[in-house]
C-alpha cells in the first residue's frame, strides 16, 4: 500500500496504482480530466496530456520533486508522494494551454454534432478553456469516412486519443483499424476504407471522447439532452446485454453501453444489442439511469426534483411579474 497526498488530501492506494486512479478514489473536483486514458483499455493514456499534474515530492525515500509535469494517468504512485493538481498554477496553466491546442483544429461544430451534450472535449473546454480564439489559420479538415453500415468517422473532429485503436485491437479479434500518417495530418483509418466488421466493433463509438465516431442509426435523430437514459437488459448470447437505452416517448433512439461518471464503459456490448434492438419490447427496463457527469444531460436531469428558483433574479419588477410566481 502507498500513501499519497493529492491536493492536500491523503489517500491510501495499492502499489502500482496510477496517480489518476488514486485521485479518482478521492473523487470530486480534484480529479484530473482524462481524454485519452481509458481504464478498460490496456496501454491507453499519456497522449492527450490534459491530466498533467505536478509531483512536488517523489516519495518518502527520494523526496526530490519531478522536474517536469507528469501525465497522471500513466505515472505510478510511490509511498509518500505529494501531488498538486488544482492547487498548482503551473498545472492549470499548462492544462489551459493543452485544451487550447486540442481545440485549434477542432471544427467546433457542436450545434450539429451528435456528441454535443455528452462530449468530453466540450466539458473540458467549459472547465479549462479560454473563451477567446488566438488561432486564425485555416483548420485542417478531412472527408467523412464510412466504416461499414453502422459507424461513421468524422476525422475532422478527432483528437487522436487512440482509444478506438486500442478498442479495435483488444476487444475485436482482427486488427483492421489504426492510425495513418503523422503529425496533424495523422488520421484514424482502416486500410483502404475497409469495413470494420466485427461483433464488438460498435464499441469504438462509446469510447470516442468527441463526435468523431458516431452511430449511423442515431445520427441527427435527436439531441442527447432531449432523450431519457434508461438502464435495461436482455438475454444476449454474445455480450452481457446490460445497456443504457436512450428513449424519447416510446421510441428507443439509441443503445449504448453503461458508462460511469468518467465516461468509461462498465461492460462492452455487442453490435446486435447496439444497432438492431431498437424496440422497447426487446428489453427489460430496470429504471432511469442517473448520469453522474458535468454535462447538460445531468444538469437537466429529469428525475431530480425541480427546485423553484427565479430563473432571472435581477430583472426589473415590471418584467418580473410576467414570470411564474414562487
Amino acid at each position: 500500500m502507498a500513501k499519497i497526498t493529492f491536493d492536500g488530501i491523503e489517500v491510501e492506494v495499492e502499489d502500482g496504482t496510477t496517480i489518476l486512479q488514486a485521485a479518482r478514489k478521492i473523487g470530486g473536483h480534484v480529479v484530473p480530466p482524462a481524454m485519452c486514458f481509458y481504464t478498460p483499455l490496456k496501454g491507453s493514456g499519456g497522449k492527450c496530456r490534459v491530466c498533467l499534474v505536478k509531483v512536488t515530492q517523489g516519495s518518502t525515500k527520494d523526496p526530490r520533486p519531478m522536474p517536469k509535469l507528469v501525465a497522471s494517468c500513466i505515472t505510478q504512485v510511490q509511498d509518500g508522494m505529494v501531488v498538486e493538481n488544482t492547487t498548482n498554477e503551473d498545472v492549470l496553466n499548462a492544462r489551459k494551454g493543452i485544451v487550447e491546442m486540442l481545440l485549434i483544429n477542432h471544427p467546433l461544430d457542436c450545434p450539429i454534432c451528435d456528441q454535443a451534450g455528452e462530449c468530453d472535449l466540450q466539458d473540458l473546454s467549459y472547465e479549462h478553456g479560454v473563451s477567446g480564439q488566438r488561432f486564425e489559420e485555416e483548420r485542417r479538415t478531412f472527408n467523412k469516412v464510412d466504416l461499414g453500415p453502422y459507424i461513421q468517422l468524422h476525422m475532422t473532429r478527432c483528437i487522436l486519443c487512440y482509444r478506438c485503436v486500442y478498442t479495435a485491437d483488444q476487444i475485436t479479434d482482427n486488427r483492421v483499424h489504426g492510425v495513418l500518417g503523422r503529425g496533424d495530418a495523422a488520421e484514424i483509418g482502416t486500410y483502404i476504407e475497409n469495413v470494420i466488421d466485427n461483433d464488438f466493433s460498435g464499441n469504438v463509438i462509446d469510447v470516442c471522447p468527441v463526435g468523431a465516431l458516431t452511430d449511423k442509426t442515431w445520427r441527427f435523430k435527436n439531441r442527447v439532452w432531449f432523450t431519457k437514459p434508461m438502464d435495461a437488459h436482455r438475454d444476449c448470447p454474445t455480450c452481457s446485454g446490460k445497456v443504457t437505452l436512450w428513449t424519447r416517448g416510446e421510441e428507443v433512439l439509441r443503445v449504448t453501453a453503461r458508462k460511469d461518471q468518467y465516461g468509461e464503459v462498465e461492460e462492452f456490448i455487442c453490435n446486435t444489442c447496439r444497432f438492431d434492438k431498437k424496440e422497447v419490447k426487446d428489453w427489460t427496463i430496470e429504471g432511469p439511469r442517473n448520469i453522474d457527469r458535468n454535462s447538460v444531460i445531468s444538469a437537466n436531469h429529469y428525475e431530480l426534483p425541480v427546485v423553484n428558483v427565479p430563473i432571472v433574479p435581477n430583472l426589473p419588477t415590471s418584467t418580473k411579474k410576467n414570470l411564474p410566481q414562487e
Binding site: R49, A71, I98, E100, M101, L102, N105, R182, G183
Partner: protein, 448 residues
C-alpha cells in the same frame, strides 16, 4: 591539427575493407576486451573515460551502461542509433560511409561489455547506400570470426544486424526507434519504464549514437584515464562536428572538446572563416533543435569569457544566453541570412516530423509553422510574436518525447535574440518580402 581518435585513418585508401582496417590497428580492442578483460572492466573503463553520448543529450555513457538492468534469463540488447536526421547533422553518415569497420568494432566491444548477444544498428532509411557498406563490413567480420559464435575463441557469441528505418525523424528518439525496430509505428513510448529496464522486445536495452560506440575501441585500447585527459573539464574526448552554412570550408571536423568557438569558425584548420569575408550573424551550434545564438553570444558567454566547443561552455547561461552542443551540427549564418525565414524553415521541419501522438506537439508545431509562414510572407500582426512565445511555452516540457522541446526551443530563442528582425518583418511587410531582403539593424544585446 589536434588529436584524432575517430578519423585518424579515415583517409587511408581501402580503409573500408577488413584487411586495410586491421593493418591500421583495427579490431585490437576486440581482442583486448574479449581475451583479457571482463565485461565489468570494460564498463569501468568507459565510466572513467567520462565519454558522453554524442547523439545530442550528452548523457555520460558509462553511467547509462551501468543502469542496464540484468535480470536472469532475459536477453539484453545494444542498439546503435544511426538514424541521423537532425537538420545540419551529417557526421554519422560520413563516418559510417568511410570507416564502417570502426563502428562494427565498437559494436562488438560494447556488446561484450553489456553482455548482449544480439545487437542492432538502426540506420536511417534514406541512407541505403551506407547500409550496404555496413552489411559488407559485417559480412567480412563474420568471415574473419569477429562476429558469430565463439568470437576469437573467447566463448562470446554476437550477432549484429543492420535494420533500416522508414526515414522518419522521430525514429531517432530512442523509444520510437525501438518501436520501429520491433516493426511497429514509430511512436515514442511513455517513460518510465526506461529502455534500460524495458526496451527492445521488453528486454533491457542500451541505445547509443554511432559516434559514441565508435569511441569505445580507443578507450579500451588506451584506457579510460587516457581518454579523460583529452578535452576540457567534464567534456572529455573528441567530437565530430558537422560544420555547414556560410563558411569557407564546410565539412566534418574532429575536434578536441574545448576548442574556442572563434578559433573553430575563423581558423584555417577548421571552417576557414565566413564565406566571402562577410560578417557573422548567428550560429546554431548543435543542430536545428538547439537555441540559435547571435554573434556576441556565440563568441563570448554573457559573463565575457571565451565560448568553447564543449558541453558546459556552450550551455553556459542556460537558455537566456546559451545554447547546447547537441549533436554537433554547427550551422553558421552570415549577414545576408534571414532569421525569420530560417526559423520558419525549422518550424516547418518539426511540423512535418511530429508523430502526432500527443496533443501539444501535434497541434502546436503546425500552429507555429503557420504563424511563422505568415510573418515571413508579410501577413504578420504585432501580437504574433508574443503568440509564438506563448505557444512554444505551451509545448515545452508537456510532451511525451523531446521532439516537442526541440520544436519549441529554436522558435523561442530566435525571438529572444532577434525580436527586432521579427518586428521589422511585421512592420514593413513590403520591404521584408522583396527578393533578397534582409534586416540589417543592430542585433539585440542580451545580458544574463
Amino acid at each position: 591539427m589536434g588529436l584524432k581518435i575517430l578519423t585518424e585513418h579515415i583517409n587511408v585508401p581501402g580503409i573500408e575493407t577488413l584487411e586495410v582496417y586491421r593493418k591500421h590497428g583495427g579490431y585490437k580492442s576486440v581482442e583486448k576486451a574479449l581475451k583479457t578483460m571482463s565485461p565489468e572492466e570494460v564498463v569501468e573503463e568507459v565510466k572513467t573515460s567520462g565519454l558522453r553520448g554524442r547523439g545530442g543529450a550528452g548523457f555520460p555513457t558509462g553511467m547509462k551502461w551501468s543502469f542496464l538492468a540484468k535480470p536472469e534469463g532475459i536477453p539484453r540488447y545494444l542498439v546503435c542509433n544511426a538514424d541521423e536526421s537532425e537538420p545540419g547533422t551529417f557526421k554519422d553518415r560520413w563516418f559510417m560511409e568511410h570507416n564502417p569497420h570502426a563502428l562494427v568494432e565498437g559494436m562488438i566491444t560494447s556488446s561484450y561489455a553489456l553482455g548482449a548477444n544480439k545487437s542492432y544498428i538502426y540506420i536511417r532509411g534514406e541512407l541505403l547506400f551506407v547500409l550496404r557498406i555496413l552489411e559488407k563490413a559485417i559480412a567480412e567480420a563474420y568471415a574473419a570470426g569477429l562476429l558469430g559464435k565463439n568470437i576469437l575463441g573467447s566463448g562470446y557469441d554476437l550477432d549484429l544486424h543492420v535494420a533500416p528505418g522508414g526515414g522518419a525523424y522521430i525514429c531517432g528518439e530512442e523509444t520510437a526507434l525501438l518501436e520501429s525496430l520491433e516493426g511497429k509505428r514509430g511512436n515514442p513510448r511513455n517513460k518510465p519504464p526506461f529502455p534500460a529496464v524495458k526496451g527492445l522486445f521488453q528486454s533491457p536495452t542500451v541505445v547509443n549514437n554511432v559516434e559514441t560506440i565508435a569511441s569505445v575501441p580507443w578507450i579500451v585500447n588506451n584506457t579510460g584515464a587516457e581518454y579523460a585527459k583529452i578535452g576540457i573539464g567534464r567534456s572529455t574526448g573528441t567530437k565530430l562536428i558537422s560544420a555547414s552554412g556560410n563558411i569557407n570550408k564546410p565539412g566534418v571536423y574532429e575536434i578536441e572538446l574545448g576548442v574556442p568557438v572563434e578559433e573553430f569558425i575563423y581558423s584555417d584548420q577548421y571552417c576557414g572563416g565566413i564565406w566571402k569575408g562577410k560578417q557573422l550573424k548567428a550560429v546554431v551550434p548543435g543542430g536545428s533543435s538547439v537555441p540559435i545564438l547571435p554573434t556576441n553570444l556565440i563568441l563570448k558567454t554573457a559573463a565575457g569569457e571565451d565560448r568553447l566547443m564543449s558541453y558546459e561552455s556552450l550551455s553556459d547561461g542556460g537558455f537566456v544566453s546559451g545554447s547546447m552542443l547537441g549533436s554537433g551540427a554547427f550551422i553558421v549564418f552570415d549577414e545576408d541570412q534571414c532569421i525569420v525565414r530560417n526559423t520558419w524553415n525549422y518550424a516547418r521541419f518539426y511540423h512535418h516530423e511530429s508523430c502526432g501522438q500527443c496533443s501539444p506537439c501535434r497541434e502546436g508545431t503546425g500552429w507555429m509553422e503557420k504563424v511563422l509562414h505568415r510573418i515571413e510572407y508579410g501577413h504578420g500582426h504585432q501580437q504574433d510574436i508574443d503568440l509564438l512565445v506563448s505557444v512554444a511555452k505551451q509545448i515545452e516540457g508537456n510532451t511525451i518525447c523531446p521532439l516537442g522541446d526541440a520544436a519549441a526551443w529554436p522558435v523561442a530563442a530566435a525571438i529572444r535574440h532577434f525580436r527586432e528582425e521579427f518586428e521589422w518583418h511585421i512592420k514593413h511587410p513590403q520591404e521584408a518580402t522583396a527578393p533578397g531582403a534582409v534586416y540589417r539593424g543592430q542585433l539585440a544585446e542580451v545580458t544574463a
